[in-house]
Amino acid sequence: MKNLNLAVELEEKIRKQVPRWSIPVLMLRLAAQNKKMRNKFLKLVDVLPALPNKGIKIYFLKWLVEKKLAPYFIVKNLANLENINYPVSVDFLGELVVSEKEAQNFLWQYLRFIQNPGGESGEKNIAIKFSSLFPFFGPENYEESKKQIKNRFSRILRTAQESKAFITVDAEHYQLRNLIEEIFCETILEPEFENYGNVGIALQAYLRDSFDSAEKLLEAAKKRPNSFLVRLVKGAYWDQETASALQKNWPVPVFQNKKETDENFDKLVCFFMKNREYIRLAPATHNPDNIAFARNFNKELEFQVLYGLGEPIRKVLYQEKIPVRVYTPVGDLINGMSYFARRILENTANEGFLFKLISKRRR
């Protein structure tokens, strides 16, 4: 009962926070009208940065997307981060890493950020993607991928330990999941890192076999003298995973409707709460039902929302004194295109709490 009341209360307050007349919200609402509009919008946004500045129409659209829409989702550079005064987890946007040189550049970007003492108060908190550390990262190249990433992840952790920076390993495409988890578990169990608590990994609740991951992570956690963090997310690659599986004639790895994902999310929360002496949980969700459910177990849980889109939720959680951190992508629009496109997809699909927030319909 208490649960339901909190959920309803949160939703009411969040709704009040949504900026009714902001340009991004209006644009998203336009795109959300039907599948055709949404595809048109996506295509336009995708190609816009590459179009030459010919004609007033293109110029205006570019200005609209780059100057008004993108900043709603992405922080342009590290300097702008300093204007933010709430806890963040920084995600470095970038091009796909296609060469050794680009992998090295990414590694140095992570290391530099961790080592740099400047700016914000509090510990540095970054989300890293293993695929950005090696150009041929993948299960077809299993052993070499493991070797290279363990080496580079270790360097990052070593540097992080010196300044107590928090490193979370992002979840990526399903095909990479086993590889990412294996590398993570083996590295954080090494004597050099087994006591370091400021390390974590993301787990996607939209995967049908997400409990396999949960069990694997728990097994590793039990062997470790200090706990690590699991950032529980719903999952960001739904359309891609479905299409990819169908093309390969493999079983589709994700739940087919949002309700199943939301329920699985709660089940996983229960699982991690049962095992809280080994793993710390950080639920990342915008849905007040999921937030209320988790909050009920433990008042100390730190939630997580996305930058921009999650701002109404962040404000409300802050007011309610519920700990919350903001996943903040940093980079220019061109590098952030796929991130951007996925957010548009998620928020213009017919399901999802944020879509409900944006659309005119009331609950």
């Binding site: 150009p135 077809e140 004639n249 493999w250």
Partner: protein, 548 residues
């Protein structure tokens, strides 16, 4: 009232999941067992399923490790070919096979598919060792081979139905149409290459068999061990042994003899432009002169059912391209299997100001590609198939200096230089569109890059080749994409993805111009190339009454 015919459902064979440890372990296990059991022995001919050894043999080496012998391949000469032909000309099974229903013949193909599924890991291991192909590529090829077997089974039944149902039928007149194999005794030969030793061999064989022909299979000498086990699969699927013969040997010798032989009515060939011309010449000569000396009943003209003779694929990258996708797509298309694919990308045309950035990123990726044996999955570039290929690619190096400029190249590790036929990936620029490097099919990891000022100019550059197999475009400009779809002269065009890896039933594969006769492998109508057709009209009116 309109008739409705059902199009049979088809699902492609799923690839292996390399993220599962069992997959990787099984491959390692089979590499070992193939070495222990299969390597180093003599590979016989199979005539009516019976092994026949010849004195003349050729040694097949592992291209990643020349000292290792994969097998000693017996070579079929005229004498051995005659043994097979004698069976084909006289044995009753050849005629019986022609009379079987499509359903019955397709059951053998499906059985072969099942056997191939069971031998998946075996072939992955063998292909790595005999042809230097990576596990991922080999797996994709095995799926393609299984697909051919299943898909052509479905297609034949569908075609037969379509053929009959499209006839207009009226009372008193019974119209029938039958697809039949070619010849009084339907006999075909399939001469196939080493670069897709399983799939490109199985496709035409499956097509020839299911359409009712007895088939002789002449594999490339660089992949005859694989060919042998492939032949065994057909025999083990239960086809009558007399209708299928495995004759490895040199193309100039065995292939040539068979192509010219009067008993052979159907030819399926994939290979170089030069050999294609020899075959076309032989067929023409036969049909124009030699055929007149045959008995009347046997004057079926020789037919080249399927012909695939190379490509010089090009990819356009314009200023709206997603560079991440374009760099990786071009790299995959140009260097997977060391560029030894007819569908490979041999030329890139970059439009506008993206040139600098694209070349920079491509260069860096090329320099990052590890080179070595495919048995270690970390290697992205394996060896070339044999000494001839190695010499051929190297012979272009002086030309590179003359005609253009090297923009990027990988480095072959010192310890591999004499161990196998390894050459690094090379990017060449500043070429004239008419230079030899821009025009000739090199069949190696040599990539030429051109600049264009406009998209139209790029299209013209792409089409400025005698080949017409695969082309591609990386662009997000809908107008450019439409233009490309309409104007590119190629049988298989790809937008915003790599230009290799055509999948059965999804991208029927075959080219125009000098690349072939447009027979589409993996297309529903491929089998039509292997058929003659009988149309029969029967008057069913007796005493003024139609009797149906």
């Amino acid at each position: 009232m309109a008739k409705i015919i059902e199009i049979p459902e088809f699902q492609n064979e799923p690839l292996l999941d390399f993220s599962k440890p069992e997959t990787r372990e099984k491959i390692q296990k089979h590499l070992k067992s193939v070495r222990d059991v299969v390597l180093g022995i003599e590979i016989p001919l199979l005539i009516s399923g019976i092994p026949v050894f010849t004195e003349r043999k050729t040694r097949r080496e592992n291209p990643s490790d020349i000292k290792e012998t994969v097998g000693y391949i017996c070579l079929a000469g005229q004498k051995e070919a005659d043994l097979a032909l004698k069976v084909l000309i006289s044995d009753n099974q050849v005629k019986e096979w022609m009379k079987l229903s499509f359903e019955k013949r397709s059951s053998y193909l499906k059985k072969a598919a099942q056997l191939l599924r069971q031998k998946r890991y075996f072939f992955i291991a063998l292909m790595a060792i005999e042809t230097g192909k990576s596990f991922v590529e080999s797996d994709a090829e095995i799926c393609e081979a299984i697909d051919f077997l299943e898909y052509y089974s479905n297609s034949t039944l569908f075609l037969a139905k379509l053929n009959q149902e499209t006839l207009i039928s009226l009372p008193g007149e019974k119209n029938e149409s039958f697809y039949i194999p070619i010849g009084k005794r339907a006999i075909g030969v399939s001469i196939q290459p080493w670069n897709f030793p399983l799939a490109i061999s199985i496709g035409p064989l499956a097509a020839g068999l299911i359409t009712g022909h007895a088939m002789i299979y002449k594999p490339a000498e660089q992949s005859s061990v694989i060919g042998y086990y492939l032949a065994k699969i057909f025999y083990n699927a239960g086809i009558p042994k007399e209708i299928f013969h495995f004759l490895p040997g040199y193309g100039e010798e065995t292939g040539d003899y068979l192509v010219n032989h009067p008993a052979i009515k159907v030819i399926a060939f994939t290979g170089s432009k030069e050999v294609k011309r020899k075959i076309q010449n032989a067929v023409w000569k036969f049909n124009l002169r030699i055929i007149d000396s045959l008995p009347m009943e046997e004057r079926y003209e020789k037919r080249i059912a399927v012909l695939e003779s190379g490509g010089k694929g090009a990819i356009i990258v314009d200023s709206t391209a997603d560079l991440d996708e374009a760099v990786v797509g071009v790299c995959d298309s140009a260097f997977s299997f060391q560029g030894q694919k007819c569908s490979a990308c041999a030329r890139i045309i970059i439009v506008g100001k993206t040139y600098e950035k694209f070349i920079q990123r491509l260069k860096e990726r090329m320099e990052s590609l590890p080179i070595g044996s495919p048995e270690d999955p970390k290697n992205q570039i394996g060896p070339l198939i044999n000494k001839d290929a190695y010499d051929k690619v190297l012979s272009y190096m002086p030309l590179v200096e003359q005609e253009g400029k090297i923009l990027a190249y990988g480095i072959v590790p010192q310890e591999l230089k004499d161990k196998g036929y390894f050459v690094p990936p090379i990017l060449v620029g500043d070429l004239s569109p008419d230079s030899r490097i821009a025009q000739e099919e090199i069949f190696g990891p040599l990539l030429a890059v051109f600049k264009a000022n406009t998209f139209e100019e790029a299209i013209a550059l792409v089409n400025h080749t005698e080949y017409g197999l695969t082309n591609g475009v990386f662009s997000r400009n809908p107008e450019n994409i439409e233009k490309a779809k309409r104007e590119l002269q190629a049988g298989n065009i790809y937008i915003n993805r790599k230009i290799t890896g055509a999948i059965v039933g999804r991208q029927p594969f075959g080219g125009m111009k000098m690349s072939g006769n447009s027979a589409k492998a993996g297309g529903w109508d491929y089998l039509l190339n292997f058929f003659d057709r009988k149309n029969i009209c029967e008057n069913t009116i007796r005493r003024g009454t139609p009797i149906e």
